[in-house]
Symmetry: C2
Subunit: 273 residues, 2 copies
């Protein structure tokens, strides 16, 4: 289910961020993103984590959010699906102007959130105006079709090299590779687009964010780049005929490397001033 089938200029931005390092680059990226929210916004940080990760570096995200301009900050670690029903989380979500999703891998979030009331509430809050930010693996889940995992084998797409799973569905215009292994994302994105070239592929560097406004114009923030792959004019591929692992032929894609300040219209598929 896609939250917005019709343009609606009251919905909140959907922000896909790459890995956020706990350093000045990570801070600069998050501060820029928070800059589109009201001053000192109320932030809800939801982290998917395993039982043994309490001391992990992810803890630094709340520090960066505070330093980057967050006002009230609520943070919850989701350890199981039952956590998603916690009234204090749902209450915090109702108050939040910015929701931040973080995870070490996309499937950890989707298996925790999928089909829950919390997932529906996040979609509703975004439709009502709350900004939803996915950091790292949390970015992939923003999409209707989530790039769950894929082979890491360079820029050549391979049969079976991209596994898709249903995501939160805040946007259906893009498939996101947040690039835990940035260098291999091109092959994964091409393998995903070969399956059904209706969406744009977005690859996002660390310390970099793709901010998708209510007008479906994407703006890049942060210190790295965003790779856009547009398959609108894609020619026939051979993806149907291949053994697992065989390289995929896929031609006539449009590629853009975008940097901070660049704006790209997802509807018209072109850069805008």
């Amino acid at each position: 289910m896609v939250a917005r089938l019709q343009p609606d200029h009251s919905r909140g931005a959907v922000v896909a961020a790459g890995d956020v390092p706990i350093d000045p680059r990570g801070l600069q990226c998050l501060a820029a993103v928070l800059g589109i929210a009201p001053v000192h916004p109320r932030v809800l940080l939801l982290q998917a984590r395993t039982l043994d990760e309490d001391a992990a570096g992810e803890d630094g995200l709340d520090g960066l959010l505070h330093e980057g301009g967050a006002g009230e900050l609520a943070r919850y670690a989701l350890r199981g699906r039952s956590d998603t029903g916690e009234p204090r989380i749902l209450d915090a979500l109702e108050r939040a102007q910015v929701v931040v999703l973080a995870s070490d891998q996309p499937l950890r979030l989707s298996t925790l959130l999928g089909g829950t009331g919390l997932a529906r509430a996040i979609r509703r809050r975004n439709a009502e105006g709350a900004i939803v930010v996915g950091c790292g693996a949390g970015a992939a889940i923003l999409c209707e079709h989530m790039l769950a995992q894929g082979a890491s084998d360079g820029p050549t797409p391979r049969s079976g090299g991209a596994q898709l799973a249903p995501g939160l569905g805040l946007t259906n215009r893009v498939v996101i590779d947040q690039g835990g292994h940035a260098s291999d994302r091109i092959g994964r994105l091409l393998a995903a687009l070969a399956l059904n070239p209706f969406a744009l592929g977005l690859g996002i560097d660390a310390a970099t964010a793709a901010v998708i406004g209510a007008d479906n114009v994407l703006e890049v923030m942060g210190s790295g780049g965003v790779t856009v792959i547009d398959p609108a004019e894609m020619a026939d591929s051979n993806v149907l005929d291949l053994a697992p692992g065989a390289p995929i032929r896929i031609t006539n894609l449009r590629l853009h490397a975008l940097v901070a300040g660049t704006r790209y219209d997802l509807d018209f598929r072109r850069t805008v001033a």
Copy 2:
């Protein structure tokens, strides 16, 4: 200097191969390439190597060439520029129907061969019909503008991320990244094309070859893929304004992922049947 300014259907093919593993995949790729030469062709293998590399795995290349269909095979290791004047090498070149260049890095070959009579003789033999094959780093040097080295930082192009140097000049239509670190080649190629988008960027997987015929049609052989980046419609980039290492904005490139059997016309920049 470019060997062929005019189409000349008597010149030999120029073959850019990725790294050739000494295994059945490498053999399959080399055998396919030798299949375009006369039966049991006379082959000259020129390897650029440092003094301490005599026992390196490169030695396996001559075994693969034999097994892949080579007839008479002459092999010389170039250790210094003075070696390029050896009469036995020049004699072997005059007899060779296939010349194979191998190196661990592009600059080792270009610093050995650049400006020598051997380099001129290789260009002449190619113009006369001899096939010239570059393997691994030996592929980069086939171009007029050789991608000498570059930062390995994923698919985002960065200022200073590609260093160009003059190559052998057997083709001026492409810039080649043979992808010792295949996964990072997209960023390097984009950084190179941002400097002057007149050429096509070619990224070549291991065990894979891009065979450029006299008609400037490229055919892929081997088990991997060839990435083609066509900057013909590239919009303005910000490459002039950047500090070293900053990400480059570069938009409206055309991207193709080609596999064995695919043919691509370098003049008309489109796939052909």
